[in-house]
Symmetry: C2
Subunit: 397 residues, 2 copies
Amino acid sequence: MTEDDRHLAPQAEFDGRVARVQRAMAAAGLDALVLTAQDNVAYLTGFDGPTWVNVARPRYCVLAKDGAPVLVVPTTNVPVVRRMTWVQEVRSWVSPNPADDGLSLVAEAVWAVAEPAATVGMEIGPQSRLGMPAGDFLAFRERLAPRRIADADALLREIRKIKTPLEIAAIRQAAAATSRAFARLDAGGDEQAVAGRFRALLFEEGLEDVPYLVAESGLGGYPSLQMAAGGRRLTAGSVLAIDTGARVRGYYCDFNRNFVCGPLPEATRQAHALLWEATEAGIRAAVPGATAAEVWRAMAAVLDAGAAALGARRTQSGRMGHGIGLRLTEPPSIHPEDATVLAPGMVITVEPSLAFEVAAEGGPLTRTLVHEENLVVTEGGPELLSARAPREMTRLE
Amino acid sequence: MTEDDRHLAPQAEFDGRVARVQRAMAAAGLDALVLTAQDNVAYLTGFDGPTWVNVARPRYCVLAKDGAPVLVVPTTNVPVVRRMTWVQEVRSWVSPNPADDGLSLVAEAVWAVAEPAATVGMEIGPQSRLGMPAGDFLAFRERLAPRRIADADALLREIRKIKTPLEIAAIRQAAAATSRAFARLDAGGDEQAVAGRFRALLFEEGLEDVPYLVAESGLGGYPSLQMAAGGRRLTAGSVLAIDTGARVRGYYCDFNRNFVCGPLPEATRQAHALLWEATEAGIRAAVPGATAAEVWRAMAAVLDAGAAALGARRTQSGRMGHGIGLRLTEPPSIHPEDATVLAPGMVITVEPSLAFEVAAEGGPLTRTLVHEENLVVTEGGPELLSARAPREMTRLE
């Protein structure tokens, strides 16, 4: 690769992805796809990067039953597309153009490959997001009529559940670098100081992008684990969790670590030990042939067996893990009703959590603890990508 | 504010925002709004932050003709909403739930405040994005029938064009801190080394989040200014541009700076001087009562008057600036057809660019140069928020 081929994978990688998607299109009766979401477009073409932060301009990828994808992008994105992707056929318009923000060009590209009786796949199913205005989507549906629109997102996510070796390598690299950053974390002060130090370590260790970084703390645990660092100071008995979704070549790792200042309250120590065992059970259960639900049940069984004695309970998070990849969270969900059968190449998080009470002046506080690890399912069983969290909570002095 | 009231503005700020939106709803004949986009929801409620990176779960805000907004969010977001927002009425469900990912709760909230003959506003217009799957949007439309759905995004963007003093203060802080980071930038090496150093400086100077950071370089200019830093080394005559969208309390500044290593090619020096003058003209033109198109024409006039003599030309970017705020780019567009009348409180970028040729071994190279500044329109005229780029390009040794 030259200095300009940023992120560009070998041609065989893209050929394989396109072939898998086109096989699935044939099976699903889809004659063409019109994709607008960053992750799906990047998967097929390599077109990724910071320009996607700007949503003033939509970007379209059209894929027919055979042949290579066509990109329809704003003129400003053409140089990026030429440098980041393998796509030859690039059409462009000067955007923003409220009167016709690319729709005519996209419709022409679809008409050329999809008969009136055709079905066109777009990202409309559960957990999808369209990278275009909803009004344009409604107008586009009418332009394509009598062609039918059906969901294409499930098809892409199904294929993307199984990562290629190149994708796994990127997530492995992200998780290893994030593990090194966690191992080096030593700062004290308030949440922001610690989170700031950790973010600096992430970049030092080679992460390219940190879209998700939350840090919460409290006596013996935290109220939730969803917010950016605040001004809360870490004092004796404070437990701080940092959770990050950090990327290498566009691929996320996603896990957290817990830290304690001074003495660990006993309720927290016990909850932490139980969570560590539940995580262990989740990792062990992630073997080819097991379902996502079985991984969930393996963790739930450990938690439910031990929680009552601690006055603790599973949190109502809806799931205890999920796939990762070009998105921070992807299918499957580690959820009691997700029947996805794990297969080699799937990369998932296991993420049990507990709620419990910690004694404090003024009465007990409700606290949460979360553990999360990343693993890839292999023929030989689960392979951890994050460096396993220590059995005893790490001290931050 | 306590250590936990992260980003929460005074109640009067939210009351003012809601009152302005409800007045506009009355004028537009909208009986209720259902909002799903991070920026709009954050504007009315304060609900912002890293959790929005996870798009597996949608979040809804319902606003009636009067009264306070209602938030309908996944259970996992409830603690965040309690700590970050002023909203009392919070309804939640365990998500992801493909069978009903919040839609029933949202429909009930709308039914309670919107008669069958009502019109419900959603984010469907130009440059909008829905924070929910398109399939759910289609199903939701049917659930609300016979209520009509109309665009609400234009209404919100119209109000949000005029920033409040609190919003301007956040952008001013972001732009000032980013200016200090640019002033301290001294690293050499390759694009990634310089961009990495700059990112570290941004956080040191107090930026909270850097969603957008691009860095491109080349002999005498760059091929575009859209890509993350690559491995290109800076050598004699290299011109590097860094452009960043960096946030404080959720608000973006957005501007770039140009740096040269060693001697500046003459063609670049002349193009840079012309761009500096064009930027100056754009800033001067940003007075109350002028239109966005007039600001564009002020810059285009300078560029067109000087470009031919340099063998240069305006780039086909479609616009030369835009609004900034909770989104990296907001209306208005500094575009020849944008008739928006500038008014005090608008915060915009002016962003002229030129394409030209630079002599090189092997033949001339087509290069781009971009200048960008941020300003707020005040009664007294434009007030720069970014520290004005120096007239002579900064040397990076």
